[in-house]
């Protein structure tokens, strides 16, 4: 089930009144069944994966708490890792690694006869696997206590607002919230509704309006005038941001309505002045997961420059691979690894150069934001392209500057609409840094009515419905 569908509208119309009319375990049961229906609507067969993952992690968590022997605890953790990463590896990466292995052997003149399997990628597997894994790791580290109720733990793993595309919530933050009975609260309805509407605006209005132009450009970049290729790349940067952060907004909004608090997943990332800042503002739940469960255990920045670079690079490569089974994603991760290392190496000399040029501070900030955005877009090209050939063709096309004029802009109405919508998005997000629209909507009922009505009208006039699944479902 996807948020931008009539089915979901029917689901939520039934779910919300039932949810608030129940309490205690009955409410947990409703949340669990609702979550399984939400997920099973796509393909009920894969519910078994969530169920197995849930059962195994629940019992391993309990066992870890009962055992004092560190070796035994370690063994239990390894079983959890093997199971979760095994599911992920099989369903997401089996064909990728098989194909890559065959290609490698072919490069050495061998022709192995290896069959790949027709495997369907279960929606959201990367998200709930990471969420479930963080629980067993935290129990192992004794940072949290194992959950005693299987019902509560199952609901934590499968909770529908963030099940298929995050944010990746941590057990330490989220599980304790299931121990409270959330009363119906108008304040939460107010702020949650605003967040949901804003998420729908980002997804259905901005991202889905940009999608057709972007799809055309990235499918076959040859033959498009350079101006269209450049517009395609810029549009994609906003499409993926609005698609993914829109989903997070909707998830955070619905969770808030239901009485839960998720951490923020995006904080205007394209206004970052460097790449470490970018990663503290983009897909925060994943980057902090990778930091806490991979980068720091690897040694983080504690063992000298070279080791730090190695850890940075490894984390980013695996972060790239997490997104999808394709070398283009790995390359995207590699580029970000290079950016982070280059920033550590060149940050100071570059800062000194900027100071020497005596630019006004606003211009310096602008240059930093511009450079970070530029290199982010370079990496997006590899992230979005189906293969390296298309990505390289796209760069060659832009660099060739052939047909770089307004007259060659194709689908002018789509482009004008895209520019207008990106403009609205930026105005709202930039002004929000000072105005804090959500608190204004919370405090001032008249402003709230006007703002929510405007969002509804924008959805009606510009929204695309029924066609676009969320990009991050495939991850």
């Amino acid at each position: 089930m996807i948020f931008n569908s009539l089915t979901f509208l029917a689901f939520i119309a039934l779910f919300l009144p039932l949810y608030f009319s129940l309490k205690g375990n009955a409410r947990l049961w409703l949340s669990l069944i609702g979550s399984y229906i939400f997920y099973g609507w796509w393909d009920w067969r894969f519910l078994s994966l969530i169920a197995i993952s849930t059962l195994v992690d629940y019992y391993l968590g309990r066992s870890m708490e009962d055992v004092n022997d560190d070796k035994k605890r370690r063994k239990l953790l390894i079983i959890s890792m093997v199971l979760n990463l095994g599911f992920l590896g099989f369903f997401k990466y089996f064909n990728f690694f098989t194909d890559s292995f065959v290609t490698l052997l072919q490069n050495f003149g061998m022709n192995p006869s290896v069959h790949t399997l027709r495997i369907i990628l279960p929606v959201g597997i990367s998200f709930y696997t990471f969420q479930s894994m963080s629980y067993t790791i935290d129990v192992y580290r004794k940072q949290i206590q194992a959950e005693k109720s299987l019902l509560r733990f199952s609901t934590f793993v499968a909770f529908w607002p963030q099940l298929v595309a995050g944010p990746i919530v941590r057990a330490a933050d989220f599980l304790p919230q299931f121990h409270r009975d959330h009363e119906f609260n108008w304040d939460r309805i107010v702020s949650g509704t605003g967040r949901v509407l804003w998420g729908f605006f980002k997804k259905c209005v901005v991202a889905d309006s940009l999608a057709p132009f972007v799809d055309q450009i990235f499918m076959e970049p040859n033959g498009f005038a350079s101006v269209n290729l450049l517009i395609g790349v810029i549009f994609y940067s906003f499409q993926i941001y609005c698609d993914f952060s829109g989903y997070s907004d909707i998830a955070i909004g619905f969770a808030r309505i239901l009485g839960f608090d998720f951490n923020e997943n995006f904080r205007t990332p394209y206004f970052s002045q460097n790449f470490s800042e970018f990663w503290s503002r983009w897909h925060i739940s994943l980057s902090s997961w990778l930091r806490d469960y991979l980068y720091i255990p690897l040694g983080g920045n504690r063992n000298g420059k070279l080791a730090t670079y190695k850890n940075n690079m490894l984390t980013m490569l695996l972060g790239g691979l997490w997104h999808g089974a394709n070398w283009t994603f790995v390359f995207w991760g590699l580029l970000h690894g290079v950016y982070l290392i280059a920033q550590r190496q060149l940050g100071k000399p570059f800062g000194a150069l900027m100071s020497g040029l005596r630019f006004p501070p606003a211009l310096k900030t602008g240059v930093n934001i511009g450079l970070t955005y530029f290199f982010t877009c370079v990496a997006w090209v590899y992230f979005r392209s189906p293969n390296f050939e298309n990505a390289n063709d796209l760069f060659a096309g832009i660099a060739g500057m052939e047909g770089f004029s307004f007259v060659n802009v194709m689908s002018k109405f789509t482009v004008m609409k895209g520019v207008l919508l990106i403009g609205i998005l930026l105005v709202v997000e930039v002004s929000n840094l000072r105005m804090h629209w959500s608190s204004l909507a919370f405090k001032n009922p008249n402003f709230r009515v006007a703002a929510y009505a405007i969002l509804l009208l924008l959805l009606a006039f510009f929204g695309s419905f029924g066609s676009g699944a969320f990009i991050y479902f495939q991850f």
Binding site: N222, E402, F413, M416, K417, A453, G463, F465
Partner: protein, 291 residues
């Protein structure tokens, strides 16, 4: 319940603004100079009626009118499928005096490249056409009823954006103004073969349109518009399409696929630009299509 007032207030304000906005956009739709607004809101007499997809825009009206002295209307639109094209032509023939000639670009006969969802973009014209309302209610049920619920949603389409754009100006000048890029010229061999995927249902729509026009006393000319010369070997089954259309309608399809040969006359492989449109229209006049 007092605390819930903002929900009702929000919905009421949204509905009120939706109706007010819908009324205003409806006024624009009515007053617009865009081709479909003129179709539904004028009763002008035109001598020549063109119908096609984006390739049908190559019937560059200012030049055709200047060279022939005939008045023209063009109902072509990017990705126009034959069933929608036939519907619009029939609506035109019901509302306007019959034109002397209907020129049909047969590349609409393709279910793959045409936009089969284009009809729902005509939602804002449903108050004017029973045929369109019926088509949308049948094939685009959700969009049709969403348009009843929200009048702004009815105008949520590129076709409406064009209606707005041509509010105060004529759309007769709508045609590509670019020249095919050198890289496109070089890459023509890399292009995949273009095949027309047409069904008996599509053929029925075409026959229905042709008969309807003929019953009104309109001569029907079916033509193949020019393709970029080096792209011609990439066209798969045009001849069999022409043959099947002739068999079904009893009319000959006039083939102008190689009527324009100059590279600078094309915007891409399948579309002439303003230069090419002039050259092509000269050929149509010479062949007696426009008379």
């Amino acid at each position: 319940m007092k605390k819930a007032y903002w929900i009702f207030a929000t919905l009421a304000v949204a509905l009120l603004c939706d109706r007010a906005g819908g009324w205003f956009l409806g006024k624009i739709t009515k007053e617009s100079q865009f081709r479909y607004s003129r179709l539904y809101n004028s009763t002008e007499t035109e001598d020549v009626l063109f119908i096609g997809n984006s390739r049908g825009l190559s019937y560059y009206q200012p030049y055709a009118e200047e060279k022939t002295g005939l008045t023209t209307a063009n109902l072509s639109y990017n990705g126009m499928p034959i069933d929608l094209g036939a519907l619009l032509v029939k609506d035109y023939l019901d509302r306007h005096p019959a034109p002397k000639v209907l020129v049909v670009d047969i590349s609409m006969m393709d279910s793959v490249r045409m936009d089969n969802k284009l009809a729902y973009q005509f939602n804002h014209y449903t108050p004017y056409s029973e045929r369109l309302s019926n088509l949308l209610a049948k094939d685009f049920r959700n969009d049709f009823y969403a348009g009843k619920l929200s009048h702004l949603y009815r105008c949520n389409s590129e076709v409406f954006q064009r209606t707005f754009y041509y509010w105060k100006k004529s759309d007769k000048d709508w045609l590509l103004d670019r020249v095919i890029s050198q890289s496109m010229v070089n890459d023509v061999d890399k292009q995949t073969t273009l095949r027309f995927h047409y069904s008996p249902k599509m053929m029925e729509s075409l026959m229905d349109m042709v008969k309807y026009a003929q019953q009104k006393g309109t001569r029907v000319e079916m033509v193949v518009n020019p393709y970029f010369p080096a792209f011609l070997p990439k066209i798969g089954n045009l001849d069999s399409l022409m043959r099947d259309i002739s068999l079904a309608t009893g009319a000959t399809v006039k083939d102008f696929k190689d009527a324009v040969t100059e590279t600078e006359a094309f915007g891409d492989y399948q579309h002439v630009n303003k230069v090419g449109a002039r050259l092509y229209l000269d050929k149509l006049i010479e062949a007696g299509v426009l008379k």
